[in-house]
Amino acid sequence: MRGYVVRRLGYSLISLFLLSVTIFVAVRATGDPALLLVGPGGRPEDMARARVDWGIDRSWPEQYLSFVRNVARGDFGTSFQYRIPVRDIYFQRLPNSLQLAAAGLLISLLIGIPLGILTAVKVDTVWDTACKIVAMLGLSIPGFFVGLVMIIVFAVGLRWLPAAGSGTPQHVIMPAVALGWYFAASMLRLTRSGMLDVLGSEYVKLARLKGTPERVVIVKHAFKNALIPVLTLAGVNFVIMLNVAVIIETIFAWPGIGRLLFEGISLRDFPVVQGVVVMAGVMVLGVNLLVDLLYAVIDPRIRYA
């Protein structure tokens, strides 16, 4: 077991290393940020000085080593645009993204799980297809379209909800729906799969034979066991939602890390882009690692895969 843990951890670290190098190189390939640092109309001397000040005149390997050393100390550098440590602005924005992702996750669970149970219980009927389509609509309608329509209907038209910004629970409803509906489909699928498996299992057959009412069978036996993979997927989707909400954040003026990354890319703010991407990588790799380790604990066979 310990061997597996060490190996698995090693893989994650290698992946993280590869990721960081890729981002590092790619970001520098977007061009020279000196003009943006100094402002349009900057003279070559100013730009040269800016490059020295911000350390981007050194060779790439040198910069990378410096970057790694700093990251080990938790320092992602100073943002070119915001002039504060990337760590500070990242963690300023992160709670907003966490809030949005949590709400989005809740929506995806609220849509996906009940519909998934329904499709499993009424497998191969009209209900099955109907529920699947509802969930799939989330995959099919672009999130920004959903978001814009909602603003117009619920904010401007009906005045039920605020149009944009953050702060109160009402502010998070529309962005959460726009974000979370997309992930409902995978929740549905997994719930359905788990439910169908368990519903067909010997254990449940026995419960039925014993005369347990169907509803109890579904809730007490099938659902609980089907839930585990769903929760795992929830964890993974949560991390993804954290990082891909850029369009929702733009539309709803939600100050999250997705928008931070997008602007960092546009403004060639190297430290911000590196920081956000590496953090995203850490989160995803971390979640995957934890999931794999937990599954290895559960099922020894997986260790040898």
Binding site: G41, F91, A163, A164, Y203, P229
Partner: protein, 577 residues
Amino acid sequence: MKRTGLIQAPGRLATRRFSRRSFLLHCAATAGIAGLLTACGQAAPPPPAPPAATPEAARKIETISTPAPATAVAKPVATAAPAAAKAEPKGRLVYAWHTTISPAWLDPQENPPQITPYNFAYALHDALVKHMPGKTFAPSLAESYEIAPDNKSANFKLRQGIKFHDGQPVTSEDVKFTFEKYRGANATILKEKTERIETPDDRTVRFLFKEPFLDFLTIYGSPASGAGWIVPKAYYEKVGPNEFKQQPIGAGPYRFVRQQAGTEIELESFTDYWRKVPSVKTIIMRGVPEATTRVALIQTGEADVINMIPGELLDTIRRDPKLRLVSLQSGPGWLEMTSYDRPDSPLKDVRVRQAVSLAIDRKAISDAEMGGMAALEGNWIPSDWPGSLQRPTPPFDLAKAKQLMAEAGVADGFDVSAFTPLPPYFSWAERVVTQLRAINIRTQINTMERAAFYEKLAPGPNRQKGFIMPLSGAPGDAAARIRENAVCSGAFSGICLPEVEERMKRYDSSTDPQARQKLLDEVQAYLLDNYIIVPIFRQAFSHAVGPRIANKVEDIEGAIPQYVYLGPYEDVELKDV
């Protein structure tokens, strides 16, 4: 399914039933991750509390300053507005801004050659001399100033009792520091020409120049530079430039309270402001990049003022009786045909270039994109800029354009490699491209990021080819604009013509205002008459003002020359607060 690791087709998860222990382990793991991430977020230090301002209990009545004794001076001296008895500031105003709010804009020491940071300067800071409603170069922190007749020195007298937000007095040392450390637009020219700065006492500043500096006030007292916007020396030195941008202190009508970097800034009325006590207590400036959302915000009342409304939505604002639409003349957009000096290019012929100008239906573009509100000026330098040559709207005459093309021998037209507009003005560009098709000039829009665009404008062999459509709202005067766009060494220039170079050299060395103006006129006329620069129109920068604002719209929008945002902030009033 994003997590393909869970599905390894054709095998499947072999596990079926999990014991409760493993179930709890899973829950704990998921919760733990979320908790870890949240804890990390909360571990971030909360933004430091703003420096406590010492509120003055009693309100000082301002004295009306008497005009300084007349000297041979070109500029008149204005008087300070008499202040009413202090009213307690109340209420909250939300200004939805069209871009991310960069903290760099809160520090006038680094102001780029753009008008954008001046919105924050007018709110947070104050200048010795700045444009005010109906008045250019109005004395503000300075109660009076005089430029010597030989233009070799400039004297400023600061007002009595002016303070920074932290209670420290504004002194001549701060003015000197601000100037010497300034590194934004036009810093070089200001410092090169200045010999030294004398501060004989706390309220007097004397600039001495190496040679007659005719443009000093134009650069120092207008948004052409931020050198006149005074920052506190002691505080700035103590915290350094980066920290200053997080917690700026200035002498303006509003005090910084807090910011969420990039998204929101909160400001509070500074009750010791010399001119008057701003009546609105809190101003929140919020970055809302999505135009539709901004319009939604003002319709629902979540914002009181919004910027930059796209053409399609102007009617929505117009039709809403609660909202008032304002359009301010902003930066002009123009066309540059980069191959005009290549011998093998059809654009070498001035008739072809003229045909291009004649084929552009500027009114149609203005109607479509800016609700007809764009000023169709005949110059790429705004008509209200000092030194600008006034020209009427360029004509739209498709028949003549075709005729000229035929005369030049290119009736069948030709291809142009690319049409590169300043992002994100792609829809304007599309209209121009479509119109050019009518005279058989075929080209494709070339899109890129803003940063890349500015890089491509720099002179040199890598400069963007084909047609370029820049747009510039950079403040300044005609000479500055020519230096930027039309001389060999200009930051964004692809033009290098002896007729222009020679005249600009003479301009720089001349001290006769009339001779100088004549030279500027000649340069502009040359460029325009030869269609080397083809003006398209001036962007109408639109604002919508909501019902809670009590002022007449023209008093707070467009009242200040060369400034396109809300202001003066201390004059804004809210209804029924």
